[in-house]
């Protein structure tokens, strides 16, 4: 059971309003929302025929790709530290 206070933050992403409920502070939620908004606009600039759903899905795909890349970097860094500690 968690007793962490949930925050409700209203943000605008690509012209629509979203209320995000979670543990993150409002400042962080607004930052995340503006990054998603920026990425959607960037993908739209590259392909103006995409509808909003496709834009949002491709934004998610893009971000997931970045996430996995960073995760691989993180694991590599961890491995390096472990190797250093062994020697």
């Amino acid at each position: 059971m968690s007793h962490v206070q949930k925050t409700r933050t209203t943000v605008e992403i690509y012209g629509r309003t979203y209320t995000i409920v979670g543990d993150a502070d409002k400042h962080h939620v607004r930052l995340v929302a503006s990054m998603v908004d920026d990425k959607m606009k960037e993908i739209y600039q590259a392909n103006k025929s995409l509808d909003t759903t496709r834009l949002a899905v491709l934004t998610a795909v893009n971000t997931m790709h970045d996430y996995l890349k960073l995760q691989a970097d993180y694991e590599e860094l961890l491995k390096k530290i472990e190797e250093k500690e062994e020697h």
Copy 2:
């Protein structure tokens, strides 16, 4: 100028077909697509009144949040290594 061969991978995400063009290999693109598809279904289960655009945007928000969290972890790990090397 890049001479990397671009791959074209067709994937299905939440019932729609996407052709993803990029440097990543097809296996990786399919993995990313299935992770986005899973996340959309997960968010749908939590709130069945959301339309597909909202689902996709919230999936992007969710993934971006995870990305920033991992980025902070990565930077912290880097800092630790630097501190170790100094002492």
